[in-house]
């Protein structure tokens, strides 16, 4: 009788009452069954321990690979910089080097490189980065060399303003070295220099190649003692923290006094050898390196 009533209700209400009841009845059993099955699939403590050890080992391996990846990435970036430099200065013998030590007793951020006389580094070799001149080698050992920077007052680099063609000498100063700035002195009183001009090496003395970028003029001042003009130069490279550099071990005209006019010096990549129309009379270049 009950079954008949249920069937009637089922037909009338268009709902499978039977299946609902059966589902309700089996639900509990399914839950129990699923729980038992899940428990059956659970790993033992030993298995988990083994798996954990295996994963730890894999993780350590991946970490090592990650370190290798970063090393390779860093090396790749370094070599790209070197490649760019080589493109800019195809006629120079370039030797990439890394800073291994910074002298804590030096006030002008001199440093030691991991290349020495065994790598053909010689005293006086210019040191550059892709952003410009950094300094020069002052002392060479077998596998290391010491570099003084252009922030030092010992620096005497002959330079020319690439826009106004005014020449001068770049030499560091205690007042500016901390801010990664150097100064350009011996500027003509009738100069046309202005902030933003790029200063490059003249290469006249044969100690530095011509056309190496030194930095950008940020300010012009009068010296309080002799009222001469000097320019504050901001190197494009942060010399106080630089880690990767390139030593120029040989270049055209090294050690020879250049006889070409100072006006012929141009920015790297520029083909023109004529001075811009607004250039002025340049200073005598005697003594300029």
């Amino acid at each position: 009788m009950t079954i008949v009533i249920l069937m009637l209700v089922s037909v009338v209400s268009d709902t499978s009452v039977v299946s609902s009841i059966l589902s309700s009845m089996t639900l509990g059993m399914q839950e129990v069954s699923a729980a038992v099955s899940e428990k059956a699939n659970n790993k033992s403590y030993d298995q988990l321990l083994e798996e954990n050890q295996q994963m730890s080992s894999e993780l350590a391996q991946l970490r090592t690979q990650l370190v290798d990846y970063y090393d390779v990435k860093q090396e790749n970036a370094r070599l790209w910089k070197y490649y760019d430099l080589k493109k800019d200065y195809p006629r120079y013998d370039l030797l990439p080097a890394s800073v291994v030590r910074r002298d804590p007793g030096d006030d002008f951020y001199s440093f030691t490189l991991n290349k020495g006389s065994l790598d053909s580094v010689a005293e006086g070799d210019p040191v550059v980065t892709e952003n410009g001149l950094v300094g020069w080698v002052t002392d060479v050992e077998l596998s290391t060399c010491h570099v003084k920077t252009i922030l030092s007052p010992d620096a005497k680099v002959g330079v020319i303003d690439s826009v106004s063609r005014d020449s001068g000498i770049v030499s560091g100063s205690i007042s500016y070295a901390d801010q990664n700035l150097t100064t350009m002195t011996k500027i003509s009183a009738q100069h046309n220099m202005k902030a933003g001009d790029i200063v490059i090496t003249t290469g006249i003395s044969g100690l530095y190649p011509a056309s190496i970028i030194v930095g950008e003029v940020t300010e012009l001042h009068f010296d309080e003692y002799d009222t001469s003009v000097y320019a504050v130069i901001k190197p494009y490279e942060d010399i106080t923290t630089v880690m990767d550099v390139v030593v120029i071990t040989a270049f055209d005209g090294q050690g020879e006094i250049s006889e070409s006019p100072i006006e012929s010096v141009t920015l790297p990549g520029q083909q023109t050898t004529t001075a811009p129309p607004h250039s002025t009379v340049t200073q005598p270049t005697t003594g300029v390196q």
């Binding site: 030590r101 804590p104 007793g105 006030d107 001199s110 030691t112 007052p153 205690i174 007042s175």
Partner: protein
């Protein structure tokens, strides 16, 4: 046993000097104050000298001085010369005239470091007539002197620890 401990201590001093030399020159390791970093090997040599006799003191002074000179790429060897003599005198005085305690070492350290920096300033700045002498003195030498002096105190205790733990008898 006595000899072994003594030599072990001597080796420990050499290791300490080399480790501090490497760390002090490691780019980015030592924080700078107003662009100035300390010369740690100076107080190292002085604090070793007060605990050891004049001859070991002199040798460690020479080693520290030579490393300072090599690190700065100078040929003169001013630190080698001055630290060798100073440590010899200090070692002799510490053995015969005063007790190597914290107060005495601090007072001596203050004067010895001042003398070393003053001599360095005179030789490398005054004689070559470096421009901006006053600024050089105030912004560099004075700050470096104070910064270096700060290391004298921990280094005293550190080397005292070496001396007491590896002392014969």
């Amino acid at each position: 046993m006595e000899g072994k401990l003594k030599y072990l201590r001597y080796i420990a001093y050499i290791v300490e000097i080399l480790v501090l030399y490497v760390l002090s020159g490691t780019p980015g390791f030592m924080p700078s104050i107003m662009g100035v970093k300390p010369i740690i090997l100076l107080p190292v040599a002085l604090t070793i000298a007060v605990f050891e006799g004049e001859v070991p003191a002199m040798l460690y002074g020479a080693l520290c001085g030579a490393l300072c000179d090599i690190g700065s790429g100078t040929d003169l060897g001013l630190y080698t010369l001055t630290l060798t003599i100073m440590c010899f005198v200090l070692g002799y005085c510490a053995s015969n005239f005063f007790v190597a305690n914290f107060l005495n070492t601090s007072i001596i350290g203050v004067f010895c470091l001042a003398a070393l920096f003053a001599l360095h300033f005179f030789v490398f700045c005054v004689i070559p007539e470096v421009p901006d002498l006053r600024e050089m003195f105030l912004r560099r030498y004075l700050i470096r002197y104070i910064y270096t002096l700060l290391f004298l105190f921990p280094l005293y205790w550190f080397n005292r620890l070496f001396h007491t733990t590896m002392k014969e008898g």
